[in-house]
C-alpha cells in the first residue's frame, strides 16, 4: 500500500507541474467562468433555469472534452516518460511493479478528476453566493458520480494503450482512433447500421450501451428527462431492459468496470514486457 501511495504522490507532483495539466485545469475552470459570464445561470431553456441548467451544459461540454483530453495527455506523458528514460531511473528503485503502476493510476486519476469536480463545486458555491434560489445537490452528486466513472474509464483505456504502445506517436494515434470510434458510434455509425445494413435494433442498442460515452450521455440525460423522451424510440428498449434505477446503476458501474478491466490488462502487459 505504501508503494501505491508513494507512486501516486510522485505522479501527482509530476503531473501538476506539466503543461498539459495547466491547460486541462484552465479549460474546465474557464468553462465554468464562461458559463457564468454568458449568464447561463439566468437563462431559461426547456424549463431549466439557474444552476441546474449550467450544470447540464457543463456536463455536456465535459463529455466532449474530458475523454480526448484524458486519453491524449495520459498516453503522451506515460509513453513519453518511458521514451525519455524516466522509467529506467525510477524503476531502478525498490518499488513493486504493482505499486508503481496502480500508484500512478490513482495519482493520475486524482489529477484528472479533481479539476473537473472542483470546477463544478466552485460553480455551485459561487452560484450560492450569487443568490441562486435552489442548489441542485442531487444533480451535482449524480453528475459527480458519472464524471468519476467516465474519468476512470478513459484513464483505464489510456493505461491500456500506454502499456501496448512503445512510442508516443503510436500511442497518441491509437488514443485518437479509439476516441473517434467511440464518438462515431454515438449516433452516426449506429444510424448507418440500422438503415444501411438492417441490423436488428437490439444489436444497435446493445452496441450503443457498450460505448461508455453513450452510457454517460444517456445517464446524464436521464437525470433531467427520466422517460428519455429526447432519445427517441431506443428509450423504450433501455427502460424496458434496465428500468430507471437499473440504468443509472449501469451508467455508473459499466464505465468503472470497463476502465478497471482495461487498466488491469494494461498492468498484465506492463509487468510482462520491457519496462523502459
Amino acid at each position: 500500500m505504501s508503494a501505491v501511495l508513494q507512486a501516486a504522490r510522485l505522479d501527482i507532483v509530476e503531473s501538476v507541474r506539466a503543461r498539459w495539466f495547466a491547460i486541462y485545469a484552465l479549460v474546465f475552470g474557464g468553462l465554468i467562468a464562461i458559463l457564468f459570464i454568458f449568464g447561463l445561470t439566468e437563462s431559461r431553456v426547456m424549463g431549466f433555469t439557474g444552476l441546474s441548467r449550467m450544470l447540464l451544459t457543463y456536463i455536456q461540454l465535459t463529455m466532449a472534452i474530458l475523454p480526448i483530453f484524458v486519453l491524449l495527455s495520459t498516453v503522451r506523458s506515460l509513453v513519453g516518460d518511458r521514451e525519455a528514460g524516466v522509467y529506467e531511473y525510477m524503476l531502478s528503485f525498490p518499488i513493486s511493479l504493482s505499486g508503481w503502476f496502480w500508484g500512478r493510476f490513482v495519482g493520475r486519476f486524482l489529477v484528472v478528476f479533481l479539476p473537473v469536480f472542483a470546477a463544478m463545486l466552485i460553480a455551485l458555491v459561487v452560484g450560492l453566493f450569487m443568490g441562486a434560489e435552489e442548489v441542485p445537490w442531487r444533480d451535482f452528486l449524480w453528475y459527480s458520480a458519472l464524471l468519476f466513472s467516465l474519468s476512470l474509464c478513459f484513464l483505464g483505456i489510456s493505461f491500456f494503450i500506454s502499456a501496448l504502445a512503445r512510442t508516443s506517436d503510436i500511442a497518441q494515434s491509437l488514443a485518437f482512433v479509439i476516441w473517434l470510434a467511440l464518438l462515431l458510434f454515438l449516433d452516426l455509425m449506429l444510424i448507418g447500421l440500422l438503415i444501411q445494413f438492417q441490423t436488428p435494433a437490439e444489436v444497435v442498442v446493445g452496441l450503443a450501451l457498450a460505448n461508455p460515452l453513450e452510457v454517460f450521455r444517456i445517464g446524464a440525460m436521464m437525470l433531467f428527462d427520466p422517460q428519455l423522451i429526447l432519445l427517441g424510440p431506443a428509450a423504450y428498449m433501455i427502460l424496458d431492459w434496465f428500468g430507471n434505477a437499473g440504468f443509472m446503476t449501469y451508467a455508473l458501474l459499466y464505465p468503472l468496470a470497463l476502465g478497471l478491466v482495461l487498466a488491469g490488462i494494461g498492468f498484465w502487459v506492463f509487468r510482462r514486457t520491457d519496462l523502459p
Partner: protein, 296 residues
C-alpha cells in the same frame, strides 16, 4: 554475487546481448567498457530487472524481476542520461530516501561534498537543473544509500574535474562494495576498478583482472611551465582548478589520481607549448587527512 547465465536480449531482429554469461563476485569493481551498441546499457537494465530476456539473471540467488524490492534494495544506480523529471529536486531526494530506507541528511551531506547545495535547489524542478547539478544529485542519491552494489552508467560524464575527484573519493570509501562502472573509455575508470569487462556486439570479448596499484583517493601535485602564455591553454587548465603566477607561464594545481590519464590527454593537446611538466604523488596519509578535513 551477480550471475548472468546465457543472457540473450533481442530488439526486433537485432540481438543486443548474445548468450552472455558472467559471474560478478562480491567486491568486484568492474569497468564495463565497449563501443556504442555493445550492450552495456542493456546488460545493466537486465541486472536491474527492467528488461525481459532469455537466460538467467540472479543477484544473491534472486531474480531482480521476480524479487524487485529485495534485489533493488541492495542496488544504487546512476543512469547515463538524467531523466527529465519535473518534480522538485527535494521531492526526488525524499522519495529516494523513503524507498531506499536511507535518510535525506546523508544525501544532503554527499551532495554538499560534490559542491551541490541541496537547500538551494530543493524547490527547483529537477529538469531545470544544469547537467552537472543533475548528475551530482543522482550521484548523491546513489551514494547516500547503503547499497552493496553500485551500478554507475558513465557517472562522471557531466562533471568538472573537482567534482570528479569527489566522486572518486566517494567510490574510494566504498571499495568493499561491488561496482559496475560503465564507460566508453577505459582510462576514465581504469584506476577505480579491479576488473575490466569489454563487451562487443553483446558478447564478452575481454574479462581481465586489473592490478590495484593506485589508491583512488590519491592526489598528484602538478606544475607546468609553458614556452609562452596561451589563452586557450589558460582556459582549459583553469577548468582543472590550476592557478598561474602573474606571467601565465607557470601553472600549479592538483590532479586526482584516477583522473591522471584524462588530464594527460587534455595536456597532450598543448604539448607544443609545454616546456616542463612535473607530476608528483602526494603522500597518501596527507591526502586522507586533507579529505577528512574537507568532510569535516
Amino acid at each position: 554475487m551477480i550471475e548472468l547465465r546465457h543472457l540473450v536480449k533481442t530488439f526486433r531482429r537485432t540481438r543486443v546481448l548474445d548468450d552472455l554469461s558472467l559471474t560478478i563476485a562480491d567486491g568486484d569493481r568492474i569497468a564495463l567498457i565497449g563501443s556504442n551498441g555493445a550492450g552495456k546499457t542493456t546488460m545493466i537494465r537486465c541486472i536491474l530487472g527492467e528488461y525481459v530476456h532469455e537466460g538467467t539473471v540472479l543477484i544473491d540467488g534472486l531474480s531482480p524481476r521476480d524479487h524487485r524490492t529485495r534485489v533493488l534494495g541492495k542496488i544504487a544506480f546512476v543512469p547515463q542520461m538524467p531523466p527529465p523529471l519535473r518534480m522538485p529536486a527535494g521531492d526526488l531526494v525524499e522519495f529516494a530516501a523513503r524507498v531506499h530506507d536511507s535518510d535525506v541528511a546523508t544525501i544532503r551531506q554527499v551532495a554538499a561534498r560534490l559542491g551541490l547545495d541541496l537547500e538551494e535547489v530543493r524547490r527547483r524542478p529537477f529538469l531545470k537543473l544544469s547537467g552537472g547539478q543533475k548528475q551530482k544529485l543522482l550521484i548523491a542519491i546513489a551514494m547516500g544509500h547503503d547499497a552493496s552494489i553500485f551500478i554507475l552508467d558513465e557517472p562522471t560524464a557531466n562533471l568538472d574535474p573537482a567534482a570528479r575527484q569527489i566522486v572518486f573519493d566517494l567510490l574510494a570509501e566504498r571499495l568493499d562494495r561491488t561496482m559496475i562502472i560503465s564507460s566508453h573509455r577505459l582510462e576514465e575508470v581504469a584506476l577505480l576498478v579491479n576488473r575490466v569487462i569489454e563487451l562487443d556486439r553483446g558478447r564478452v570479448v575481454l574479462d581481465d583482472k586489473v592490478e590495484e596499484a593506485v589508491d583512488p583517493s590519491l592526489r598528484l601535485d602538478c606544475e607546468i611551465v609553458l614556452r609562452r602564455p596561451d589563452e586557450a591553454f589558460a582556459k582549459a587548465i583553469a577548468e582543472w582548478g590550476f592557478a598561474s603566477a602573474e606571467d601565465g607561464l607557470t601553472w600549479r594545481g592538483e590532479v586526482a589520481g584516477p583522473d591522471r590519464l584524462r588530464f594527460l590527454g587534455m595536456l597532450a593537446r598543448y604539448s607544443g607549448i609545454v616546456r616542463a611538466l612535473e607530476l608528483k604523488e602526494r603522500d597518501a596519509a596527507a591526502c586522507k587527512e586533507e579529505q577528512a578535513h574537507v568532510q569535516a
